[in-house]
């Protein structure tokens, strides 16, 4: 399905250089001139992430780090850690423990540099009334706001990107700007996304967020430890979403939401490791995945550690 694989031969560069020249002349007439510094054109002609070789990626990362530093007046490290072999990330969420406190939501925002105005959250916590039916999304409440959680008559279900093995968003993207990495994380190249939002229409889990305006965040709130495919600063007009905290998990850490959960409802690990906690939960608890009928095969498992 995806024709772009790794780095291709030099021939490609020649053709590109030619097209660049031709397009430059055309585009120069059409674009605002005050932006016509070198960095603007480098950004404009930046290649698809998976078409670049290591050298080209390094240059891009340097340029992006420089841009971020100019914007936020602090050093921002943009990493490019690759997927580890033999790893397929999976997530477990214990619904019998979740108390609906939304600490995961806010930890996610602190970690992943989302816009604070307008607010962008990658995690949505849904509230359901107990004693009526099981998860009927149409009856869920997203904007619940009690003074104290958990509330007696309700249960809660956080939803974020389910990192599908068969992701409808990837299939729908017209420019291959989003894809599934070898460790199972669905990522977006924020420099390649054209902002058509077809992936948002395709996602059955409401996981994708669009930057309707330029993202706003105070420099002191910027998390400087970032990943190109994850929490680096984003742009106006591109789509973003949960990446299982790719900048953390590829360095052997837990996602921020897992660490933040006060009741230990969130589990994370390697699905290919038979001794991992996530494998234990899947094999020994009553697990289910959201909207199983759509055959998206999420790597996000909901389960019950004990009865309620």
């Amino acid at each position: 399905m995806n024709r772009i694989k790794g780095n291709r031969a030099e021939r490609k560069i020649d053709r590109r250089t030619f097209i660049k020249g031709a397009a430059l002349g055309l585009a120069a007439a059409a674009l605002p001139l005050n932006k016509s510094d070198a960095s603007f054109w480098e950004a404009f002609f930046q290649k698809h992430f998976r078409e670049m070789n290591d050298e080209e990626i390094k240059k891009v990362l340097q340029r992006l780090e420089k841009e971020a530093e100019q914007k936020y007046k602090k050093a921002v490290k943009i990493g490019n850690e690759k997927a580890m072999p033999g790893v397929l990330f999976g997530y477990g969420l214990d619904l019998s423990r979740c108390i609906g406190c939304r600490r995961c939501v806010y930890a996610c925002v602190e970690e992943n540099n989302q816009s604070k105005d307008p607010q962008i959250h990658w995690i949505t916590v849904l509230r359901f009334k107990k004693g009526e039916k099981w998860v009927d999304l149409e009856e869920s409440e997203k904007y619940y706001n009690p003074s104290l959680v958990p509330e007696k008559d309700y249960f809660y279900m956080p939803v974020q990107c389910q990192q599908c093995e068969n992701p409808p968003c990837v299939r729908s993207c017209p420019t291959q700007a989003t894809w599934k990495e070898p460790d199972g994380i669905v990522v977006i190249d924020y420099n390649w996304c054209i902002g058509c939002r077809y992936c948002m229409a395709a996602c059955p889990y409401g996981a994708r967020r669009f930057n309707w305006s330029a993202p706003n965040r105070k420099p002191e709130e910027i998390n400087p430890k970032t990943h190109y495919l994850g929490n680096r600063p984003r742009y106006k007009g591109v789509v973003e979403k949960c990446t299982f905290c790719i900048q953390r998990t590829r360095n052997g850490r837990y996602p921020a939401c897992v660490e933040a959960c006060p009741v230990g409802a969130r589990k994370f690990g390697n699905l290919l490791d038979p001794n991992s906690e996530i494998r234990y939960a899947i094999e020994n608890k009553r697990v289910f995945r959201l909207k199983e009928d759509l055959n998206t095969s999420p790597k996000f498992y909901y389960f019950f550690a004990y009865g309620v």
Partner: protein
């Protein structure tokens, strides 16, 4: 070379010189375009946040207009079928104006997609070879192929025919014939692919119905020709182009069949949704009756339904079909009816309730409406300029200079 330049100026002169009314009309359109452009500059600066769209309803008025106009672009094909397959003379002679409308509609479609993009400058990423077109996986990539292909076919046919006429020669059927035959399935394909764009998303039960593509075709065969009927009356009134009543009535008759089919398919959908009554009926309930007191689309869709049904009967009976007052009423009813049904009435319920059950009521904002009006004015301007050149060529008044 000399003649080429000279003829270019002949064409340019034809387009730029007109009477007072012409300048007034073009000036009016330019004014609307300017309004649209200024609203768009604001959108380009601040982002799509100036529209009513949000994460819950991530497509709105722009994509609604796009969908409607893909349908209008089919008008040409409805004229082509009887003209060339059945050799129905009165229609054959006016196919050209239908094809020019198709060119206009497709140009507007492409503009609507462009203005909906968050990063329009990166538009080239969707192209094959220089970009990374996700073909054949993404239906949006398919749409880029079929829409541009359709534009190319219609541009070639129209300009070839106009060129031959302008040098005083008959066009060669050996050149146009195969392209016209090709344009028939191609026109069907632009509708089908656009329908599949929605249809293929299992996340959106409202769109994920096999009936969507046939309904697209049926409703397109109503709105496009209805626009043509009105344009033909204007063209024959304002110029010496002769368009027989017979041709217009034939088109009206075809609309009656298409609308009958459209209403039948709608009925089939309504039955399936409401009789089975699964949780997937929420969007259609929202559309027709509102959900939890949220009723933004209800008055619109009932207006559309009533207009479409009324128009169906006006087109069906020869008496009302062949009376220009009732015929034009019916045309306007169909245009508005389908515009609502295939526009906001199709796009928005796909997102309401959203995939996690939230109901976000979408209404286009003023800048969004201004930009949309700007695109429509741009379309009207293109069609006006195309006609300004094509009509005198067609009537033999304008001829290019050649050596002989």
């Amino acid at each position: 070379m000399f003649y080429l330049i000279k003829n270019f100026f002949i064409a340019l002169r034809q387009v730029f010189i007109g009477n007072k009314k012409y300048y007034l009309w073009v000036g009016f359109l330019l004014f609307l375009i300017l309004l649209g452009v200024s609203a768009y500059i604001d959108q380009a600066g601040r982002g799509l946040i100036i529209t009513g769209m949000r994460d819950q309803v991530s497509w709105g008025f722009y994509i609604s207009n796009f969908t409607f106009l893909v349908g209008v672009a089919a008008a040409a094909v409805l004229l082509v079928i009887p003209a060339y397959i059945y050799n129905f003379k009165p229609i054959k002679e006016i196919v050209l104006f239908g094809e020019l409308l198709a060119i206009t509609a497709i140009s507007m479609c492409l503009l609507f997609v462009m203005i909906d993009m968050g990063q329009p400058v990166r538009g080239w990423h969707i192209l094959p070879v220089i970009g990374a077109m996700n073909f054949p996986a993404s239906l949006l990539a398919w749409d880029v192929v079929v829409l541009n292909g359709y534009l190319a076919i219609n541009l070639f046919i129209s300009f070839y025919v106009l060129y031959r006429l302008s040098i005083g020669k008959e066009y060669k059927m050996s050149v146009v014939g195969p392209l016209i035959i090709l344009s028939i399935p191609w026109a069907v394909s632009i509708h089908t692919v656009t329908a599949f764009l929605y249809n293929g998303l299992s996340a959106r039960p409202f769109w994920n119905a096999s009936i969507l593509a046939p309904r697209f075709l049926a409703s397109a065969f109503c709105s496009g020709p209805a626009i043509m009927i009105i344009l033909f009356q204007i063209i024959r009134k304002k110029s010496e182009v002769e368009i027989e009543d017979r041709a217009i009535f034939k088109i009206a008759e075809l609309i009656a069949y298409a609308m009958g089919l459209n209403l039948f398919l709608l009925g089939a959908e309504v039955f399936k949704e409401f009789y089975s009554g699964s949780i997937h009926t929420y969007p259609i309930k929202y559309l027709y009756f509102g959900l939890h007191g949220k009723t933004a689309l209800v008055p619109w869709i009932w207006t559309a339904t009533i207009l479409n049904i009324t128009a169906f009967f006006l087109f069906l009976f020869p008496k009302t079909r062949e009376n220009f007052t009732t015929l034009n009423m019916a045309c306007i009813f169909v245009i508005i009816g389908v515009y609502i049904e295939k526009g906001l009435g199709l796009v928005v319920p796909g997102f309401v309730p959203d995939t996690l059950g939230e109901i976000y009521e979408y209404t286009p904002t003023t800048p969004e409406v201004l930009i949309t009006i700007g695109v429509w004015a741009f379309g009207a301007l293109i069609y006006t300029l195309l006609l300004k050149f094509a009509v005198p060529v067609y009537t033999g008044k304008l001829r290019f200079e050649t050596k002989t």
